[in-house]
């Protein structure tokens, strides 16, 4: 078979996009194992798709990390404890505070030899049995107190750890909230423009050289503010940038450069204030702009109604 033709057929792309039936997929895997060029191309295709996927990366909310990792842990532990019921893992220790703490210290002081030695030495020194009982009672009280101390100390330590965790969590929430508030403020301002009745919408449609292009200008003749909203503009070649013009009685007035983010339709952009205009147009100019519009590079244009 012709390897080049096979590579060109698009079959590898469909494999990587998981579009093939199991039989077809097995065929691709077999050919990739046999023919290094096919294999190399397949890896290329997978990397290209990986790149595409990664371009969409979004950092998940900070709080999600804890949630996902602890629920993952839970799911894994459940599966593990189904096989072996009482096998605590070191990672789960901080989450099972109450059940571990009270039982752990008990075996420790019962097994310790020191208290026993104290109790045994008493009969030699004391004469009265009353004093002996008192001593035993005191020893027991002391041991209980030591045990309780140990218990309270470990509980306090655990609370301390939990507090630190909670504080870290809170700091992360605060950071996230701040970021959200910032973008919310920006969007609120945009909505304000869209709802303001003083703003006039000017729809700009593509010229012969960019028939699919579309953009809008929102113009407020009272405050003189101008915003631009791109629906679709051809990608600007490197070194070029879109420039907005206000046409006042046929005379073009520079209304500013479109930022790269605006040109791909990401958000509204406030442009230079314009005193008076009856139409708007966008031309493709050298980056940084030009004092007069290059009419040959006129991309979209629209009259104010």
């Amino acid at each position: 078979m012709n390897i080049e033709e096979y590579i060109e057929s698009g079959q590898l792309e469909l494999y990587a996009l998981q579009q093939l039936s199991p039989a077809e997929a097995a065929e691709v895997e077999r050919l990739a194992a046999e023919h290094p060029p096919i294999r190399a191309e397949l890896i290329n295709v997978q990397r290209a798709l990986g790149l595409y996927a990664e371009a969409h990366a979004v950092t998940p909310p900070a709080a999600l990390r804890e949630r996902v990792l602890s629920s993952f842990q839970q799911a894994v532990n459940q599966a593990a404890s189904a096989a072996e019921p009482s096998a605590p893992t070191e990672t789960s220790a901080p989450y099972v505070v109450p059940s571990v703490a009270p039982t752990a210290p008990a075996p420790r002081y019962e097994a310790a030899p020191a208290p026993e030695a104290v109790v045994r030495s008493l009969p030699a020194e004391s004469t009265g049995s009353g004093f002996r009982w008192l001593a035993i009672a005191a020893s027991v009280a002391l041991l209980l107190s030591l045990g309780a101390n140990w218990l309270f100390y470990s509980r306090w330590q655990q609370s301390e750890n939990q507090l630190v965790l909670a504080q870290a969590e809170q700091a992360r929430y605060a950071a996230t909230t701040q970021a959200v508030q910032k973008s919310l403020a920006a969007r609120t301002q945009e909505i304000g423009v869209l709802r303001d009745e003083q703003f006039r919408m000017v729809v700009m449609t593509g010229t012969a050289q960019a028939p699919g292009a579309r953009a809008r200008v929102m113009y407020n003749p009272v405050s003189r503010r101008v915003y631009v909203d791109v629906k679709n503009l051809p990608a600007a070649p490197s070194g070029k940038q879109y420039q907005l013009w206000a046409l006042d009685k046929g005379k073009p007035v520079d209304a500013g450069m479109l930022a790269q983010t605006t040109a791909v339709g990401d958000s509204l952009q406030r442009m230079k204030d314009v005193a008076s205009a009856q139409a708007f147009a966008v031309t493709l100019e050298d980056a940084g702009g030009h004092p007069t519009p290059t009419m040959a590079a006129l991309t979209v244009m629209g009259q104010m109604l």
């Binding site: 060109e8 057929s9 698009g10 079959q11 792309e13 494999y15 990587a16 996009l17 998981q18 579009q19 093939l20 199991p22 997929a25 097995a26 691709v28 895997e29 077999r30 990739a32 194992a33 290094p36 294999r39 190399a40 890896i43 290329n44 295709v45 997978q46 990397r47 290209a48 798709l49 990986g50 790149l51 595409y52 996927a53 990664e54 371009a55 969409h56 990366a57 979004v58 950092t59 998940p60 909310p61 999600l64 990390r65 949630r67 996902v68 990792l69 629920s71 993952f72 894994v76 599966a79 990672t91 959200v180 969007r187 679709n232 990608a235 790269q260 983010t261 791909v264 339709g265 990401d266």
Partner: protein, 203 residues
């Protein structure tokens, strides 16, 4: 958890000899091999490293598919568990770890929208309407990482649409052919052209 699953990957194709593997244009970096070894050994702490490394990429793709944040969070959670449990089926000779985990996550997300028949409503949305609060991942695990804007600049709208439908919307190639009113062969060649453009971006 069933559905299209790990479809192509689950198939044990022919054995791949070592000479072929060494011809790879790029073998996985040592850090990735190490992570794979730890996951294979069922080392639970490896999942923390895994999350820190891949969550942004996986979450971005899942969010792009299901388009609702809470649901994306659930799917990411499911994906972590699934990756852990089906890790033995990962075959490093068939592709990078990232390729495999992407497919697992994508399949889960696509199952999700299919199960809700979500598609009817998301159909009519423009393809490039991305969530407004999109932030780029802070640290990328691949030096060639590029942004969404760069992609928009390089792919023409038809190319992007084809890849998006196949990759993010869970369309089959014949559904794409119906939707765009074109022969199946054209879907194939357009997908290839689009991916070719993408691979020129890899240095």
């Amino acid at each position: 958890m069933t559905g299209p699953g790990l479809r192509p990957l689950r198939h044990g194709g022919g054995p791949i000899s070592h000479t072929v593997t060494s011809l790879l244009p790029e073998s996985p970096p040592a850090a990735e091999q190490q992570l794979v070894a730890r996951l294979r050994a069922q080392d639970e702490s490896a999942m923390t490293e895994f999350y820190d490394k891949y969550s942004a990429a996986l979450y971005g793709v899942i969010l792009r598919i299901v388009r609702r944040e809470e649901e994306a969070e659930d799917v990411l959670q499911e994906a972590m568990v699934k990756i852990w449990h089906s890790f033995p089926s990962y075959d490093a000779s068939k592709g990078r770890l990232f390729t495999w985990v992407l497919n697992v996550s994508r399949n889960l997300a696509i199952d999700k929208i299919r199960s809700r028949q979500y598609r009817v409503s998301s159909h009519s949305q423009p393809l490039d309407d991305s969530p407004a609060e999109r932030q780029p991942a802070v640290d990328s695990f691949r030096p060639e990482h590029i942004g969404l804007q760069e992609l928009t600049r390089r792919l023409n709208p038809e190319q992007r649409q084809i890849v998006d439908l196949l990759y993010f919307e869970g369309y089959t190639q014949s559904e794409v052919a119906d939707e765009l009113n074109m022969p199946l062969g054209t879907v194939k060649t357009r997908a290839r052209a689009a991916i070719k453009v993408l691979s020129t971006l890899i240095r």
